[in-house]
């Protein structure tokens, strides 16, 4: 994905559009009007107040940081034959939201991104986002494997672990990610026990007692 394509993906949220375009620049802050956030599920009064506050906040990450986050997210979860990429699942927007919701992510994320850029500047004379694909992967390979990374890269390993975890959280809780992982629930059904072929695969069976006393459904 080139830079322009990546930028197109920014700024369109899983949340309401009004909220995410709010407060791009500090000077816009006073004019921002935030609509009441809409939720499909129950929110108590105090919760709604906090949700509104969160959405009214200006963006935490700069455009440059978001670009780096997007590139990293797509390196971690690229499109494959089963599902799309992290940015297609709007994972960068999730990361922007979650660092506001959980401020403990803020310093490690900001600092980690900066650490990455400094590493690239020293090696390639460019920040990470402007490095070639090959250079980016060269750097990522130094921090993506905790057990073989060099000791001097340990801060990068910690950052990449956090990034990997956040991207997995964002991706596998998206509609695309849930379909990818194959979670088949969250829908009314009748639990009739482990499917017959699965019982056979694992060479297990229900006891007579269980078959007699447990709830069962025909068909």
């Amino acid at each position: 994905m080139n830079r322009r394509e990546t930028l197109k993906l920014l700024g369109v949220g899983a949340l309401s559009g009004t909220a995410l375009v709010a407060g791009c620049k500090p000077e816009d802050k006073k004019e921002v009007k935030t609509a009441d956030p809409e939720f499909t599920y129950d929110r108590a009064k105090e919760e709604l107040m906090r949700e509104k506050e969160l959405l009214a906040q200006e963006k935490f990450f700069s455009e440059a940081e978001m670009l780096t986050i997007t590139i990293l997210a797509d390196i971690i979860i690229p499109k494959d034959e089963v599902s799309g990429s992290a940015s297609e699942a709007k994972v960068p927007d999730f990361i922007e939201f979650i660092v506001k919701d959980m401020p403990s992510h803020q310093v490690p994320m900001r600092g980690g991104l900066r650490w990455l850029d400094i590493q690239c500047l020293n090696r390639f004379e460019k920040p990470f986002r402007e490095c070639s694909d090959k250079q980016q992967i060269e750097l990522i390979d130094m921090i993506a494997y905790p057990n073989k990374a060099k000791p001097e890269m340990s801060q990068g390993v910690a950052f990449f672990n956090r990034m990997r975890n956040l991207v997995a959280s964002g991706f596998y809780t998206s509609e695309m990610g849930v379909a990818d992982i194959g979670y088949a629930g969250n829908t009314p059904n009748q639990w009739n026990g482990v499917p017959e072929e699965v019982l056979k695969q694992y060479k297990v069976a229900y006891t007579e007692k269980e078959l007699k006393e447990c709830v069962k459904f025909d068909g």
Partner: protein, 577 residues
């Protein structure tokens, strides 16, 4: 500032709307008594305030917890460990985590629905091992009420004929899930008993007001769609409202129980959180069910000439004997479940099997038992999904290929798929000994934002609980080994970390702070949950418990509240109240 007195005089004023308060309101309103129900939290109607069957992407934080929902963004219970403007304190060197639901129905809106009767010995533990105190009632006194609670509310399980895990009126249980079949086998090797779980979830229809479980596994979100699990709101309060005999005052933070010259309760004073005004509501009888610690706080703050030590506290036991269930847990992965076939195994909300206490403490180095709860399998993804995969994917060959830990890209996506649904875990929930020195008392220096003096906790585990946790962990380790599981957390237990014993309060089964007993010198309540010192004051939450067995306490709260409520009705008929 003025105090507004409600003109309507009630037969009963109830503080708190969870299991105890809900059952009292239901029983009394159906008997035709006029009831005022005060709730410190917000109004809540599971038919309108819905989180059930939502997808993770509908939450901007993908189901992660917040201060308002510590058990996740879709959990039905709001508030918990940290309530704004309502602090509590702890004596130095002691621990207590205090859960406070702030909503109609309280924590029954999200609880685990584990509904266990106490057994005959559970009421007479002192007679068995010399520790703690016997209850003033026996299993025979409470059995008829357990029976009626079973039928009124609905519960699944099986009659196993186990003396201290009594039979009941059970609906059929669901069949075990795949990992539960492995657990059963592993437990068998270690001699650990496993039977179908006993949860208050309807696997069959019991009446026209409620539906049947449709197996979404989301009881913690409260069953808005079918009312197929027990919550005080769905099953007791809203049905009781239909009698027309209940007025609910939400956002009403009780300040104290009001008493007259003779020392009898006449009503309750409270702050309305919406307008921040002071109110009083009057009743012939007052029932406290604000949760064990809030109830004892209310009693201790209700001082008067007749009750200088706090109400119902001439014995000095109010706030004392505070105890929670013990808890220790372990989790891991089952390699045989890697790359497993996908299907819907949500099942009911919670485990389909559990282990009631199976050993004889006389042969062990700790006096009381515990039960084991289990989990695992293919659950709905939420925030934290796949977390820490770098600690997992280097340890196992993925589809025959040994990879370096960590990584990224298509290979990593394959790993997430490969490991999904292979987790397994277990937790012990045990009985602690209620000790006189384990207590909450009024902090002389701190008030909450309403000006109400707050609780100061002073609780420490004793050797009994620590040794019990050690036994739990050793048992879990053995069972995990038996089924070929690889322990990924909870495996680091030793003397220094109390063998992984959770800090007290964490299991949210607090009880004992206004205990029942035959002697007014050593207990706050008599055998009908009635204050020794004040005949028209009753306590029907966990505070009344003399001890709490190795069973979750809700079913016993419900049975005792029903029993106390019927006693009140009978006493009112006799003009004793």
């Amino acid at each position: 500032m003025q105090i507004k007195k409600q003109t309507k005089k009630y037969d009963v004023v109830i503080v708190g709307s969870g299991a105890g308060g809900g059952m009292a309101a239901y029983t009394l309103a159906n008997a035709g008594l006029k009831v005022c129900l005060l709730e410190a939290g917000a109004m809540y109607d599971p038919q309108k305030n819905i989180t059930q069957l939502k997808n993770p992407w509908e939450s901007p934080r993908r189901g992660a917890s917040t201060k308002f929902r510590p058990f996740g963004d879709f959990d039905a219970c709001y508030y918990g460990w940290d309530v704004e403007g309502e602090p509590y304190t702890k004596a130095p060197g002691t621990e207590w985590d205090w859960w406070r639901a702030r909503m109609l129905g309280g924590r029954t809106n999200h609880w685990g629905r584990i509904s266990l009767r106490f057994g005959p010995k559970d009421f007479k533990r002192k007679s068995v091992d010399g520790l703690g105190e016997d209850w003033p009632i026996s299993y025979d006194d409470i059995k008829p009420f357990y029976d009626r609670v079973d039928k009124l509310i609905g519960i699944f399980g099986t009659n196993e004929g186990l003396e201290d895990h009594p039979d009941g009126f059970f609906l059929p249980p669901p069949k075990p899930r795949l990992h539960e079949l492995f657990i059963k086998k592993a437990a068998g090797v270690s001699g650990v008993k496993v039977i179908p779980s006993r949860l208050s979830i309807l696997t069959k229809k019991i009446n026209d007001d409620r539906g049947v479980c449709f197996y979404c596994g989301q009881c913690n979100r409260n069953c808005s769609m079918a009312k197929a699990d027990f919550s005080s709101t769905n099953v007791l309060i809203y049905p009781a409202l239909a009698t027309g005999n209940i007025d609910i005052v939400a956002n009403a933070m009780a300040r104290e129980v009001l008493t007259n010259e003779e020392g009898l309760a006449i009503g309750v004073s409270y702050i309305n959180k919406d307008d921040m005004m002071e109110y009083q509501v009057m009743g012939r009888t007052v029932i406290l069910a604000a949760s064990a610690c809030e109830t004892s706080r209310l009693l201790l703050n209700s001082k008067s000439k007749r009750h200088p030590n706090g109400l119902a506290n001439s014995s000095g036991v109010v706030g004392r004997y505070l105890h929670d269930s013990t808890g220790a847990a372990m989790g891991g992965v089952l390699p045989q479940l890697f790359d497993r076939k996908r299907y819907n195994e949500d099942g009911v909300g919670g485990m389909h099997i559990y282990s009631p206490w199976w050993l004889d403490n006389k042969k062990l180095d700790f006096p009381r038992g515990y039960h084991i709860e289990y989990w695992g399998g293919m659950s709905q993804p939420a925030y934290g999904f796949g977390g820490g995969i770098e600690g997992l994917n280097g340890k196992f060959a993925v589809r025959g290929v040994q990879k370096e830990a960590g990584g990224y890209g298509k290979s990593l996506k394959e790993d997430y798929r490969y490991f999904y649904g292979a987790s397994v875990g277990m937790a012990g929930r045990g009985e602690a000994i209620p000790l006189y020195d384990n207590r909450c008392e009024i902090d002389p220096n701190v008030v909450d934002k309403f000006g109400i003096p707050v609780l100061k906790f002073n609780v420490k585990w004793s050797e009994h609980e620590i040794l019990q946790a050690k036994h739990m962990k050793e048992t879990f380790d053995e069972m995990m080994h038996n089924m070929g599981a690889v322990v990924t957390w909870g495996g680091d237990y030793n003397k220094e970390n109390n063998y992984g014993l959770e800090s007290p309060g964490k299991i949210i089964h607090e009880a004992g702070t206004a205990r029942m007993g035959n002697s007014p010198k050593t207990s706050a309540l008599n055998k009908y949950n009635q204050a020794h010192d004040c005949k028209n004051l009753f306590v029907v939450d966990g505070a009344a418990f003399t001890s709490q067995a190795d069973k979750n306490i809700t079913w016993t709260i419900l049975a005792l509240s029903m029993r106390a409520s019927e006693y009140i009705i009978a006493e009112m008929k006799k003009q004793n109240l």
